[in-house]
């Protein structure tokens, strides 16, 4: 059952990636907030200027999920920049389907990401976690992650499209 491979996502994977994105959003209790489409994922990940990179976890056909899927986990990441330390790897989404947990797939994905980070000269891997998501926070802390919101007081902010447009018009 621990038979799986990790590979770079390909254009043909966008349908599975979107399915997994929605599953993760459901877990985070925000499924209705996913407005991204397969077309967006295709254009934005596999066009001239990729906005993200993606790894998928695939099991052999004989181990497919109860609803017939072989792509059973993914991680989406991109490179960001810290003016103090330079390049960073930012982990945007990281998910393994419930029925495939406990087999070390998540650990392997994280390992692969950290190898990518080191290979591409990143000094750090950053990500966000919801504070109520205790299992995930423990998973990361066990592996040496630190909570910058607690340790240094960083708070995440957003300005949505409506207010962005307001700002551009006010100039």
């Amino acid at each position: 059952m621990a038979n799986f491979i990790l590979r770079k996502a390909e254009p043909k994977d966008v349908s599975d990636i979107l399915r997994l994105i929605k599953e993760l959003a459901k877990f985070e209790e925000m499924e209705d907030q996913v407005i991204l489409t397969e077309k967006d994922l295709l254009e934005d990940g596999f066009g001239d200027h990729p906005f993200y990179h993606c790894i998928v976890a695939e099991v052999p056909k004989q181990h497919q999920s109860v609803d017939g899927h072989v792509i059973i986990g993914f991680a989406m990441y991109y490179f960001t920049y810290d003016p103090w330390i330079g390049k960073l790897l930012y982990l945007e989404d990281f998910y393994v389907m419930k029925e495939f947990r406990g087999f070390g797939i998540g650990s392997e994905i994280l390992k692969k990401l950290s190898q990518t980070a080191v290979r591409t000269r990143c000094s750090s891997m950053h990500f966000i976690v919801a504070e109520w998501n205790k299992p995930s926070i423990e998973f990361y802390k066990r592996r040496g992650a630190s909570d910058l919101s607690l340790e240094e007081g960083w708070r995440l902010f957003k300005i949505d499209k409506q207010n962005l447009l307001k700002m551009t018009n006010e100039e």
């Binding site: 200027h49 960083w154 551009t168």
Partner: protein, 194 residues
């Protein structure tokens, strides 16, 4: 003059000029690696304000390497004043906004504003607002749906500035915390290969 559309592929640093005695603004595309010395200076000033100057590990050299070329890791806007309005210590580059493109699996293309800074003697003149509005303009041109950034919880002046513009605190509202694997923790994780 309005900013020209900035193609994502081209590594360009956009210089933004504000004439202090009028509200007119001039924008030009002038990719100059030597701007990096001023950007590095202001990065350090901001780090001092954030009480973490010893955490700055890169210099103008890395900024040059990483911001100019076929694959820039960040974009930067610099606010410049005319020579006769230069600062006490002779600088004409008095503010900057450093940002990059990120991706939300829910909404698609987003902009993350990593740093926004205006030298103390130039505050209260609308430069910070103008820098941020230009970041918003660039975001809009690249079809980004959201601007994200982070603020330290004790930084009341900045918190007030952003909240007044319609920013929402996602840490308070939705419980998001920033985590990282850094330095040795990252190396250890990478070495765990079977």
């Amino acid at each position: 003059m309005t900013p020209r559309h900035m193609p994502i592929e081209a590594a360009q640093s956009l210089r933004y000029m504000t004439l202090l005695n009028t509200s007119r603004s001039l924008v030009g595309l002038t990719p100059k690696p030597e701007d990096c010395k001023d950007i590095a200076r202001m990065i350090m000033e901001l780090a001092v304000y954030e009480k973490m100057p010893d955490q700055v590990k890169i210099s103008h050299k890395e900024l040059e390497r990483d911001g100019f070329g076929p694959n820039p890791f960040y974009q930067c806007l610099v606010a410049e004043v005319p020579e006769d309005h230069k600062s006490k210590d002779g600088h004409t580059k008095v503010g900057y906004a450093l940002f990059f493109y990120t991706y939300s699996t829910w909404k698609g293309r987003t902009v993350y504003m990593e740093d926004l800074y205006v030298m103390p003697e130039y505050r209260g003149k609308g430069i910070g607002k103008a820098l941020m509005a230009t970041v918003a303009k660039v975001a809009k041109e690249q079809h980004c749906v959201r601007l994200q950034f982070s603020v330290l919880d004790w930084n009341k002046p900045s918190l007030d500035f952003y909240l007044a513009k319609g920013a929402e605190d996602l840490t308070a509202k939705e419980g998001w915390h920033f985590l990282r694997f850094h330095g040795i923790a990252l190396d250890n994780l990478a070495l765990e290969a079977p």
